[in-house]
Symmetry: C2
Subunit: 347 residues, 2 copies
DNA sequence: CTGTTAGCGCGTTCAG
DNA sequence: CTGAACGCGCTAACAG
């Protein structure tokens, strides 16, 4: 009955953002002093500082990041570009990076290229535009790193290495992981062990393949082309290729070199009604939650993914503080976790 | 033998970034004209435009985002804050948002609060500092939205609603989802149906609970307190509480109101050696990949998560173009997907 | 300890 | 169609 709904009373006051000048005026100082007080650099009397902080708080001051970045010629945003944010591995990697960055008061901005060099370069340009002081990435095509480095942006490669120029990196001992997976299968009596990898020039896959070969040799098993399938990255027919591998290679043990491949193999095996490990044993690389929820649980080469991210962030922070330090490369160790998907060969 | 590795030849030329002034000078025009040519606004002769574009390309010009933002008083970065980026649901939500934003030439910056109002506010301040024109969030504590709105930042709530002030939102019909899950179990003859939810004031959980109650009523089943467990968000003893629910409520059917709860129930049931659905039937809310990989696969109320994100982004873009439009609320429909984890009651 | 000055790189007036 | 001038908000130098 009373106040009928007025034309919404224009309920967006949309106040102008409070600036340093505003709080300086309010506190009776100059903007410079306000600046010094609010970010703790330079001399400011206790009295002034107190007043300034109080006013800033009262007015709800939020520093304008763009102005600061423009002036200082670098932002507090660290760029991260990974292959696929939907993949648990990369998501966890990013989480690790974020943990460390946050403590150091940097913002993280993540971008996904789809393992496409072009998108990676686009991401690099974005970070260049934002004047990011550093970028962490799972490299796909060299160009991005080069572009960044050329502009004085620190780059850390994580999970795999690619850059021609030397740069900081943190990776897994993939060769060892591949070897252990292969030897585990060989130790169970498997003689036809397949490798399922990705067709790239990435050091991660190359290492796992290398480990596979070393493993075979150690176990005195021959290397057979028909037992190796390397999937093009965006192949629409991955499952068909897996079927082909099964048909032509007749493996009794399969080493799938990443978590998505493991999932796809698993689906194919199940669809075919093949028993695991009765008919085929399966070892994955990179442990993700579903692997220990399915029946049987998947034997896997586990990698310290979160730690991988944390180290990468550390390396970057170190680099930001010491631009002339020699490049550092950290190698983390994977660990074989034996579960139900691997068993003795019977064929 | 030849050139011994020199002191690395100072191989970081670290060129100064190319500015608009640089390319203007090179092309023999003023910076203003360069600006107009490069971002297509205002009149520029074809000749000048051509030269400018060529020079910009040759010099590898990357616009300084901070300068642009400072001048225009708003950036091209849309903020997104979700509860937990590690959770597949929120990750997919973000992916949907990103798809749409990218097409409209906006950058997305995601932040995770841990369902903590304080972190959410911190996120809002970050976006305020970056002069984000809009923010999309799964709200937890009201304050952030208010802060943002007050400063004229467009806000879209997604997955749940919270704001006192009216604002755009896109949500799922949770009531219906909860009802269908409950009726499905009731239809199978279950009389002791438990609800496992989260103890929050979120509309999502409230809706699912409401649907549960409606479902019970429709099926002429009594509402029993002992069959309802609402978990505090960061409870360290969730599994113990689930055990308690099992002991005290003796349910033969369980409706777990989100994907993480479904996972936890599943783990507890398995640990206890209870058969699914022989001893207990389980329905989840929000379909995620593991649910159809486990044996038996989980019956679930599926929601169009990616679409949820896409719509939220659309709503935001719409709002950015029409600040005075009336608030829009979109409600998307969930869908019951029956799989093996639900079966007839026998007790 | 403080204020003044200047400029980061850009886009937007406004004359010409 | 173009250029000159200005200012977005902040901080680094420099006097005082």
């Amino acid at each position: 009955m009373s106040a009928s709904p007025q034309p919404d009373e224009q309920r967006s006051p949309v106040v102008e953002p409070v600036t340093l000048a505003d709080i300086a005026r309010e506190a009776g100082t100059s903007a410079s002093t306000a600046s010094r007080a609010l970010n703790g650099r330079g001399y400011v009397s206790e009295a002034a500082r107190g007043r300034l902080l109080a006013v800033a708080d009262r007015l709800g001051y939020v520093p304008n990041a763009s102005a600061r970045t423009l002036k200082q010629r670098r932002s507090r945003v660290v760029g991260v570009v990974v292959s696929d944010l939907g993949n648990q591995f990369y998501a966890t990697l990013a989480a690790g990076i974020e943990q460390v960055l946050r403590e150091a008061d940097y913002q993280m901005m993540v971008l996904g290229d789809n393992s496409e060099a072009a998108e990676e370069v686009e991401g690099a340009r974005t970070f260049l535009a934002m004047r990011a002081p550093g970028v962490i990435m799972t490299p796909v095509g060299g160009d991005a790193t080069e572009l960044l480095r050329q502009q004085g942006v620190a780059v850390v490669e994580v999970d795999r290495r690619l850059a021609d120029v030397e740069c900081d990196a943190v990776v897994i001992d993939n060769e060892r992981g591949g070897r252990e997976a292969t030897l585990h299968l060989a130790g169970l009596g498997h003689r036809r062990i397949a490798l399922l990898g990705v067709e790239t020039d990435w050091t991660s896959d190359a290492g796992r393949l290398q480990g596979y070969r070393t493993g075979l040799r150690t176990a005195s098993l021959p290397f057979d082309e028909r037992l190796v399938a390397r999937m093009p990255l965006h192949a629409p027919d991955t499952e068909a290729r897996i079927e082909a591998l099964l048909d032509e290679g007749a493996p009794t043990g399969i080493f799938a070199a990443n978590n998505t491949l493991a999932e796809q193999v698993w689906r194919v095996l199940r669809r075919r009604g093949l028993r695991i490990p009765g008919d085929v044993s399966l070892v994955g690389f990179d442990d993700v939650p579903w692997m220990e929820m399915v029946e049987p649980a998947i034997t896997v080469v586990e990698q310290p993914t979160l730690e991988l991210g944390r180290r990468a962030a550390w390396l970057l922070l170190r680099r930001l503080n010491g631009p002339t330090l020699p490049p550092a490369v950290e190698i983390l160790q994977p660990r074989l976790v034996v579960r139900g998907s691997t068993g003795p060969a019977n064929g």
